[in-house]
Subunit: 321 residues, 2 copies
């Protein structure tokens, strides 16, 4: 209520709306102040929220959510093994589409090659949302691109930083990785139908230090912008952008809705890339994604190869020269 | 111990081996008799297991298991929503490969088109085992065929019934369905790697009655053979056959190990089938599976079409004329 009003709310109104006693309101205000919220109070006017600390909690995140269905139900952990794993467990228990798992710390988070690290409280966002789409499993890889695009937009909106995308699933700021995305899916093999998809997004938000072996390739929004970023707001902004992009995706079942914007953000665009194809590595020039999310790579002879999976290194990025 | 010995085991030996008192042995024998086990006792000789009731329990199933790793750890439920769902929940919690979930009754079991029914205690087997293979997700559909084959073999061994396979995932006895198999998979979309696969097998064992709408198309081992079948033994026999077949599958990554036997059991073999292709239905003659598990259908013009998914009706089966 304090956040919605953005002005004084009288103690009596809080009592009436919440159907609790004056003492209960005092206690709740005290608890919020204890958590770091700055709340001023004036006789005859009531309480006003002056400042919000960067804490993550179910109510903090839900109170900022502006979506229709995505992220309206938040399951929050101070610490968990992996928000993807938690989301999959919830999915197996019948959790509703749109359920959002958020953790302040992740102890078993994994990057693409099983790289894992552990950040301190307040530094990162680990978030995973649950979808139950009716489209066929071969379309699921496009969700990663959709999520990367929404996250990059949200970061740029809230920080002004130039968020670029390293196809298919990383976000890079000034040539260092700030975001990783991991999409996992459960499907029925005979029916060829998706049971559920979880899309996990890990964002280095307020991280100040990285282990030495990551320092050249990893960064955080704080390190790039010089100021701390409110994590609940960033979560809500990402969800607010993903929801309509996903609605459009469900209509077209391809990426026409974001293709041009995605390619604008593509860090490899018109740059040399090295494709680690299992049948043999080759180099070429990245010409952007097509509407199915495959990366179009122009080879030396002018032919275009569509890359749909696997490792693609970008010359000049992450130490590849 | 009683089952392994198949003869009298002295009370003293039971005390010594289990490191318990004589009273504890009496109590345990009493509890087993209470559950329906027929155990004879003779002075100076001890106890002998004469007859085992068809009860399912963790220890009953595990005591019959002759495998190396598959089904050695049994998670048993008197009743559960679905053993596939339970197995997936366990998988998300890190359960070991080979874990076997068994239920006496399934309340949320689903067939291919969402058909569900509910049987009485003692009638069916619902079992699901967990695999964590390293092969690529496109190979997973072959596991269904592998499981169908092992189950058909086990049924024929224990009952003498002619167990035929309706490609890809049903077992048919005398033109009625007795077994359904449902394989589900969880995978990482970016990495294209399998997290885990669960293979669920539902067997109508001792069912005496089916709902009217199923009576023409469904049957049970009891109805076909006229005698009750011990369910723990059937579970163990199925696992005993699947384990080596799976080992061979891991080597070849195709079905060469079972292809000929599978085709021997194929109910549609050299019969007319109707393929409900999304692009248009057509009829042809089923010529058996290839080594990738696809059904080879000969069309009128003599050409062979490979069917890899979707509904295939067999003329003369389940009311298709």
């Amino acid at each position: 209520m304090l956040r919605q009003r953005e002005d004084y709310v009288s103690g009596q109104e809080l009592c009436d709306r919440l159907a609790v006693s004056r003492t209960a309101v005092w206690k709740a205000i005290g608890a919020l102040r204890e958590s770091g919220y700055v709340i001023s109070s004036q006789p005859h006017k009531g309480y006003r929220l002056e400042e919000t600390p960067d804490i993550l909690s179910k109510s903090e995140i839900e109170s900022r959510m502006q979506t229709r269905w995505l992220g309206r139900n938040v399951v929050y952990f101070d610490e968990t093994d992996s928000t993807n794993t938690q989301a999959k467990r919830l999915a197996e228990r019948g959790a509703a589409e749109g359920t959002l798992v958020v953790a302040d710390m992740q102890t078993g988070g994994k990057g693409r090659r099983g790289r894992s690290w552990r950040q301190s409280p307040g530094e990162m966002i680990a978030m995973t949302f649950l979808l139950r789409p009716a489209f066929s499993p071969d379309k699921a890889s496009m969700l990663t691109l959709l999520a990367a695009h929404s996250t990059a937009d949200a970061i740029e909106k809230l920080t002004g930083l130039p968020a670029q995308i390293k196809w298919p699933n990383d976000i890079v700021i000034n040539a260092r990785k700030a975001v990783g995305i991991l999409t996992e899916m459960s499907l029925s093999v005979e029916q060829g139908s998706i049971d559920y998809v979880v899309v996990g997004i890990g964002i280095n938000v307020n991280t100040r230090d990285f282990p030495k072996k990551l320092a050249d390739t990893a960064t955080s929004l704080y390190l790039e912008s010089g100021s701390r970023v409110g994590r609940s707001g960033l979560i809500a902004e990402t969800m607010r952008r993903f929801e309509p992009a996903y609605a459009r995706f469900l209509e077209t079942e391809d990426l026409t809705g974001i293709q041009d914007d995605y390619n604008e953000r593509l860090v490899s665009r018109d740059r040399e890339v090295r494709v680690l194809d299992p049948k043999g590595a080759y180099t070429g020039i990245s010409r952007g994604i097509d509407r199915l999310g495959e990366l179009r790579v122009e080879r030396e002879d002018g032919s275009i190869v569509n890359v749909y999976a696997g490792e693609v290194s970008v010359r000049g990025l992450y130490g590849y020269v």
